[in-house]
């Protein structure tokens, strides 16, 4: 991999990591840690659309009352009854309308295959959108400097399976539901950005 590839690979991994972070409960640390600036900087190295989206996301976050963001977050993702956009893969895949289905166990198996596990304190299901985005980040991160060709191929295969069977299949309808249900501009922007990024990753040729 040449320097330019390494830079893009790092930017993709970073962007993915920041995107995952946006799906945690919104709080002041989003701002404190410069999340949106970092995200825009990473986006700039991938695609101007991602950079512009990340800037709009940051502006929307700054403009919103933190309490309103929390309310929107709760309504969209938690419910507890009729959450507008349930952030779990199993809800969107193959007509499975409930949680912890076969697809959930399958994605957990993929994490394990990649040598990863869910943190004990992550009180969420394995196919939560943040977990799946973090998994994609870890795969992208490891692909920047693989030990050898064999590892590169294995990572590419895992990423392609993951996007083809999991995140890539449900990110579209999920982000559409977020965009429809959101009352804050922040979550509408996040939906558009997520859709754009995941589609872009899913369209990457093998080995990239």
């Amino acid at each position: 991999m040449n320097e330019a590839d390494i830079a893009t690979g790092t930017a993709r991994a970073d962007f993915c990591r920041f995107l995952a972070a946006c799906y945690y409960e919104p709080g002041p640390e989003f701002r404190e840690e410069g999340l949106f600036e970092s995200m825009a900087a990473a986006g700039a190295r991938i695609d101007p659309g991602l950079e512009a989206g990340a800037r709009r996301l940051g502006e929307a976050f700054a403009a919103e009352d933190p309490e309103d963001l929390l309310v929107d977050y709760t309504r969209l993702f938690l419910g507890p009854v009729d959450a507008q956009a349930k952030p779990y893969g199993s809800v969107w895949l193959g007509g499975e309308t409930t949680l912890m289905q076969d697809s959930t166990m399958a994605v957990l198996a993929l994490y394990e295959e990649g040598g990863f596990e869910i943190a004990e304190d992550f009180r969420e299901l394995p196919d939560h959108v943040a977990a799946e985005l973090e998994f994609l980040y870890l795969l992208l991160f490891r692909s920047i400097r693989p030990a050898d060709a064999k590892e590169r191929e294995a990572l590419a295969a895992l990423r392609s399976r993951f996007l083809g069977e999991h995140l890539g299949r449900w990110a579209g309808p999920f982000t559409e539901a977020v965009a429809q249900g959101a009352q804050c501009a922040f979550y509408r922007e996040l939906a558009a950005l997520t859709d754009r990024f995941v589609k872009r990753e899913a369209a990457q040729p093998a080995g990239h």
Binding site: R17, P80, V81, G115, E117, A119, D121, F122, A131
Partner: protein, 731 residues
């Protein structure tokens, strides 16, 4: 890499060092509680235990700038494990509910017309004490009875007992867990209490008979159920309805309502005839096993198929599957088990099935409950009772070990064995709790005094002579909760915010009343702080620390055979009673016997009921946060049944029962997830108290339709699934 705290954000990480190249680059994420960062403002956190339902989870209230902000789980608490259910979280809504009771009220108009005068606390207590003294002078203090539910009843019970009021009843016995506890008591020598000692987290096979975990939000068990699902435990669900739990099950057995006992007998028949039961457990701990085996000989799967509608092959397969996992196979004993009026025997059959699986005191089965010894405050001795209690005359229900609520109601109606002229009703909405509303109203018509202590204007409050507005649990002290579980614990209830109006805690009301009744020496403490501090001091509990942490754990003791616990059974034989001599002696079946349920008249369907995860009984529908989640209940109707009746999904319909009682309107949920001969609704809705603005006439009341009920001959439990209903379309 750009900065982003892994602690806060990254929740996936390398499993182990050496698992891949990334292992050294992305460290394992250390623990960090999510969402703990407060919003702006001065935030105080105060632990207290929840009373949104009977589970009594430990929580932590967050008060921001002096206002109640949120209530979350207390990680130290073994019940919540740091996570509350929607109702617990929604407790904030009960504090801010604009419709809650504000001031003491004395009735002016006719009873039930809801015409009141707001009075001072002094006027209210003087009025109550005068009436109580008058009743006591004419009939004796025994003629004033207490109805109760929940923690706050404790001091009302105490003061009334001190005054000589021996009669009381808690509908949580005969209208809920009573049959289950008596079935287990007769078998193992102990009831199961609350929370049930079910080791769901470690079971390999969980059988749920009508228990809809996830819809009934028994927090700890729901969390463990999720663990069991994640562990790939085999789940077997017996329910006429495809419940949420059934959606997680390997086997869903849509049993015909009222035939569960036939299924349980057939399962036991398979285990015994195929020799799959735990023979060592039976040999060591069983009493009368041979006579039991003989008694269930005819209950073959083929026989049960005709009764239950479940294929004999499925009955065999599920029995074998349970046996293959024993002793880590668990049949949940249930909680709200009063369905058919013979439920203690069905619960006993469940207990016997568990015994055949040898899961008593075993991992993945029923563990032995561990408690904690906490000293009492030290009160004077109560005066001796001069008369017997009225609720169970001549031991009509010989195995009732608590008071029978319909027995107390009946005595109030008949005046026999002696008149009951006063009721104090603490936090139980008798018009929705007891079967047959008409009988409850008739009993009320006999009273000279009806006092209702409530947080919100429930239906029973509408009939009260005096209404005492109680502060909700986040605004008050209560007694300690001493819990029994895998390890004993003690939880503290302490006020976190002031009540918004003149509401007062129950202990204070009881103390005020005690003074006026001349039994003030039974409430000798200045306030609850003093009371609680003394109990803690006597028990070696650091009260200051308890106030900080909310929970103190007892000693860890062995709770399973695997951990070295010894099994002992407090039955007459000292063993697990497969054959019950005491039942035989009292003229009952020593081994449960099945009776087929009555068939529905043509055009009628059996109505069954259950719980919703966002509401408790009939008391939370007015809570604005919870009403927002679920405003009304739905009527589950099989899609084919709905079609045949010309009903569309989402349309409103009324129900008429076999006695001609017509419900409020309810929305149809047409679904394949229920048997065609059965209708289902969550109970607690269809409120008729106009003071409950948010809940008034929203949905239908299952209790209103429960006019026909059977009484359990063993222990006085009353049925809730013995009514047939038909559709009444709206004009």
């Amino acid at each position: 890499m750009q900065a982003l705290s892994r602690r806060r954000f990254l929740k996936i990480s390398a499993a182990t060092f050496g698992a891949g190249a990334v292992g050294s680059q992305v460290p394992v994420v250390p623990s960090f509680a999510m969402g703990a960062k407060p919003a702006p403002g001065k935030v105080e956190t105060i632990p207290t235990y929840c009373e949104m339902c009977f589970w009594k989870c430990g929580g932590i209230a967050h008060v921001r700038d002096g206002k109640l902000w949120k209530f979350v789980g207390n990680p130290r608490d073994p019940m919540s494990r740091g996570r509350l259910c929607p109702r617990g979280t929604g407790a904030v809504g009960s504090h801010y509910d604009p419709d809650r009771l504000q001031k003491p009220l004395i009735r002016r108009g006719e009873r039930g017309k809801e015409e009141w005068t707001a009075v001072t606390w002094d006027e209210a207590f003087n009025h109550i004490a005068d009436r109580m003294k008058k009743i006591a002078a004419e009939h004796g203090p025994e003629s004033i009875a207490l109805w109760k539910h929940g923690t706050g009843a404790r001091f009302f019970e105490h003061v009334m007992r001190a005054y000589g009021c021996i009669n009381k009843a808690a509908p949580s016995f005969a209208q809920c867990r009573g049959p289950r506890d008596i079935g287990n008591l007769l078998t193992y020598g102990t009831g199961l209490g609350s929370p049930e000692p079910t080791d769901i987290a470690n079971t390999k096979c969980l059988v749920l008979i009508g228990t809809h975990l996830g819809e009934n939000m028994h927090n700890t068990q729901v969390q463990e159920f999720a663990q069991a699902v994640a562990n790939k435990a085999t789940i077997i669900v017996v329910d006429p309805r495809h419940s949420v739990a059934a959606s997680k099950a390997k086997h869903w057995l849509p049993v015909k309502p009222g035939t569960d006992l036939a299924l349980i007998l057939a399962w036991m028949n398979v285990l015994v005839t195929e020799g799959l039961h735990d023979k060592a457990f039976v040999a060591k701990h069983g009493h009368g096993f041979d006579k039991f085996a003989e008694a269930i000989k005819a209950n073959t799967p083929e026989w049960a198929e005709a009764e239950t509608g479940i294929a004999a092959a499925t009955i065999r397969a599920t029995a074998r599957e349970m046996a293959s996992h024993r002793p880590a196979a668990l049949v949940h004993p249930g909680r709200r088990t009063n369905w058919n009026g013979d439920d203690a025997q069905r619960s006993r059959a469940t207990a016997l099935l568990n015994a055949l699986l040898g899961n008593w005191g075993r991992q993945g089965g029923l563990f032995l409950q561990a408690g904690m010894s906490v000293a009492g405050y030290g009160f004077p001795k109560f005066p001796a009772a001069a008369k017997p209690k009225v609720d169970n005359p001549d031991g009509r229900w010989p195995f009732a070990d608590e008071e029978v609520s319909t027995g107390l109601r009946e005595a109030t109606i008949t005046g026999k064995p002696y008149p009951i002229k006063g009721w104090v009703v603490y936090a139980t909405n008798l018009l929705q709790t007891l079967p047959n509303e008409k009988e409850t109203l008739e009993a009320i018509s006999k009273l000279d005094l009806l006092v209702v202590v409530e947080t919100h204007p429930s239906e029973i409050a509408g009939y009260a002579d005096v209404v005492l507005p109680e502060s909700m649990f986040l605004e008050r002290h209560d007694d300690l909760y001493v819990g029994w579980g895998r390890q004993g614990w003690t939880a503290l209830r302490q006020p976190v915010v002031a009540p918004p109006g003149e509401q007062k805690p129950a202990w204070w009301m009881a103390q005020q009343l005690a003074g006026r009744l001349g039994v003030g020496e039974f409430m000798p403490f200045k306030d609850m702080d003093e009371y609680l501090a003394k109990r803690c001091e006597k028990s070696g509990i650091d009260y200051a620390k308890l106030r900080q942490e909310g929970i103190v754990m007892g000693a860890k003791t062995p709770i399973t055979v695997e951990e070295g616990a010894e099994l002992a059974f407090d039955t007459p034989s000292g063993k697990v009673e497969f054959w019950s001599d005491q039942l035989a002696k009292a003229g009952f079946d020593p081994v449960p016997k099945y009776t087929a349920p009555e068939a529905a008249p043509a055009g009628f369907f059996r109505l069954i009921t259950g719980r919703a995860p966002v509401h408790t009984f009939s008391r939370t529908q007015t809570n604005p946060l919870l009403a927002d989640l679920m405003k009304e209940n739905e009527l589950w109707v099989n899609a084919a049944t709905a079609d045949a009746a010309g009903l569309k999904n989402g349309q409103y319909v009324k129900l008429r029962n076999q006695d001609g009682v017509v419900s409020n309107r309810i929305r149809v949920k047409a679904t394949q997830r229920i048997r065609p001969d059965t209708l289902y609704m969550v109970y607690g809705f269809g409120h008729t108290s106009p003071m409950l603005k948010r809940a008034y006439l929203k949905g239908a009341s299952a209790a209103q339709l429960n006019t026909r009920y059977k009484v359990d001959p063993l222990m006085g439990g009353t049925s809730i699934h013995q009514n047939f209903v038909t559709f009444e379309k709206e004009a």
